[in-house]
Amino acid sequence: MALQAFQPAPDEDTSELLEIKNLCVDYVSPKGMVRAVNNVSLKIRPGETLGLAGESGCGKSTLAFSISRLHKAPALISEGEIRYRGRDVLSMNKRTLRQFRWNEVSVVFQSAMNSLNPVITVGEQIIDVILAHRKIKSKDAWRQGEELLQTVGLHASRMDSFPHQLSGGMRQRVVIAIALALRPRLIIMDEPTTALDVVVEREIMDELYQLKDKFGFSILFISHDLSLMGEIADRIGIMYAGKLVELGTADEVFTRPQHPYTQGLINSFPTIHGPRERLYGIAGNPLNLLEAPEGCYFQDRCAQCFSPCRTHDPKMSEVSSTHQAACHLLAERTSG
């Protein structure tokens, strides 16, 4: 049992597991402030998989870090709100934060395979998490660890293995087991399978989904691999240069993408069965946030850029009740 169960705020509506409102995260650099996450608002519902896609430097990992307040200086949350089951995450004190992390929200990091300690056994690393948060005997924690390994498809005897004795896929399974150890309601996965081969990636994703059905947790899935995301996410958010530019159900984003960046991104992935023809993705290079222009950040790479894009930052507007995008073309279409 938990030392102290994490209590949601009593009077709040808990239909949203996590709500992020107008979040801004800045990096302080010698060349000036860089807004890595710029006014992002989104919600994660219980049991849902929300995918967050975008290229490197678009702020998707920074967003993930700030949800569990794992961001470190020079990163700084300068504006906005993060509410978890109605409770304000940004105002939590150290003790509450400790209960919140891993009990409620766990994180599988990018290159998770290398996030294991090389000099202690897998078992010690798993029970370390359990013992830090639960008042149980280490023998029971060890037994729980063995069960955890079995849930992720590894043999219980692997408790005695060192990380170097495991393959990349097996190490990734261990990291997922550790993330599951305290039965959190939300697991943040930052590029969890990027370093793995496609067959192993498929096996791990399948197992993860079986576990999700069993335990009912939500996933915030961060990746640059839009094809994988289109397959596993319920909803998809697209980020560009720190801003959320489009958000909708996976089907909406894939079949009716509204933002030119989303359209370009989807067209950048050659398909395995579609027609074999030349594709034109996105022109230009990713934006340097130190040289962020006035207006839409995507203007220089956008083929459909017109005058308002140069002066006004487009706001998120509704395409349907579940689908929003931030592009001036939308307003143009509805008014014209």
């Binding site: 290229e55 994703m205 991104l265 030349r278 993705g281």
Partner: protein
């Protein structure tokens, strides 16, 4: 035999290439791993051959033999019909390198950080004696930068690598490979470290070079979808063996080898809902380490169709269609 013309005469032919590596430190622990086993392939001018496989499948080893990083343990490579070792004996390593150039995965590690872009491209031009005179050199460098889409070229030439993005650096690496006017370019995962939005630009640039300059490409990748996009022909590798190869469409749309079928089933496809049960395609087993004394088909243990002979003798090459070959007993 068909009519022999420029386009269907291979510029590079590798026959039965094998490469062994010795592992382990002390005499007692020493073992030999076979990274490449009896691999044959041809590269044609103006065409690309994609080598697809998981990490450790030996897909880079073949390219490293062609680029003289490794020496083959057995087998032969011919360049325009002449054995590679003879050419190296005659024209030296650099002479051979002027025919075969490489593009690497990491554009952050493959450019010298202390030199300007001009130097990075001028260097191979000077070393290979391609150009005389300062003005001619500068003109040629700028021309190369324009070819790879780095405009304005004069401005780019004066920059340092750190001032460029990953995609731009990879274009510099491509310009550097082009500088010596090679016949063959070996591209080892050239886009896997780049941002998704610029990968396609690099692939399209290589497509243009292939078509316009008639360069033969070897495109090494783990992404079978880009293999089909870029390359006319695709070879699938598993544990040092080429298990299936031929026309890219034939291999991807009509896969014959059980491993190719597994690989294709695992590729994510947006729209198809998750959980495609991989046990329909394989038994759970570890990927073996191939040794010179290993026998049979490397996929036998994971294969759903394996018969006893699969673990005793390597299947022969079977032709299943005009340009489609497979090493599997199911088709013998």
């Amino acid at each position: 035999m068909t009519v022999t013309t420029e386009a269907n005469t291979p510029i590079v032919s590798a026959r039965e290439l094998s490469k062994d590596f010795t592992l382990g430190g002390s005499m007692l622990e020493r073992t030999t791993m076979r990274a490449l086993n009896a691999v044959s392939f041809d590269l044609f001018p103006g065409q690309a051959l994609a080598i697809v496989g998981e990490s450790g499948s030996g897909k880079s080893t073949g390219a490293r033999i062609l680029s003289q990083v490794h020496e083959a343990t057995s087998g032969e490579v011919t360049f325009r019909g002449q054995p590679m070792h003879e050419l190296i004996a005659q024209g030296g390593k650099r002479g051979f390198a002027s025919h075969v150039q490489m593009i690497f995965q990491d554009p952050f590690g493959s450019l010298n950080p202390v030199h300007r872009i001009f130097y990075q491209i001028a260097r191979p031009l000077q070393l290979h004696g391609k150009i005389r005179g300062k003005t001619a050199l500068r003109e040629r460098v700028l021309e190369l930068l324009e070819t790879v889409g780095l405009t304005p070229a004069a401005e780019t030439a004066d920059k340092f690598p750190y001032e460029l993005s990953g995609g731009q650096r990879q274009r510099v690496a491509i310009a550097r490979a082009l500088a010596v006017e090679p016949d063959v370019i070996l591209a080892d995962e050239p886009i896997s470290m780049l941002d998704v939005s610029i990968r396609l630009g690099i692939l399209n640039l290589m497509l243009d070079l292939k078509d316009q300059h008639g360069i033969a490409f070897m495109y090494i990748t783990h992404d079978i979808a880009t293999a089909r996009y870029f390359a006319e022909r695709t070879a699938v590798m598993y544990v040092g063996h080429m298990v299936e190869w031929g026309n890219s469409d034939a291999v991807t749309q009509n896969p014959q080898h059980p491993y190719t079928q597994l690989l294709l089933a695992a590729v994510p496809q947006p729209g198809s809902q998750n959980s495609r049960d991989m046990s329909q395609y394989q038994h759970k087993a570890d990927i073996p380490m191939w040794q010179p004394e290993s026998t049979g088909c490397p996929f036998a243990e994971r294969c759903l169709h394996a018969s006893p002979q699969c673990s005793t003798q390597l299947p022969k090459v079977t032709q299943v269609a005009e340009d489609h070959f497979v090493r599997c007993y199911l088709y013998e």
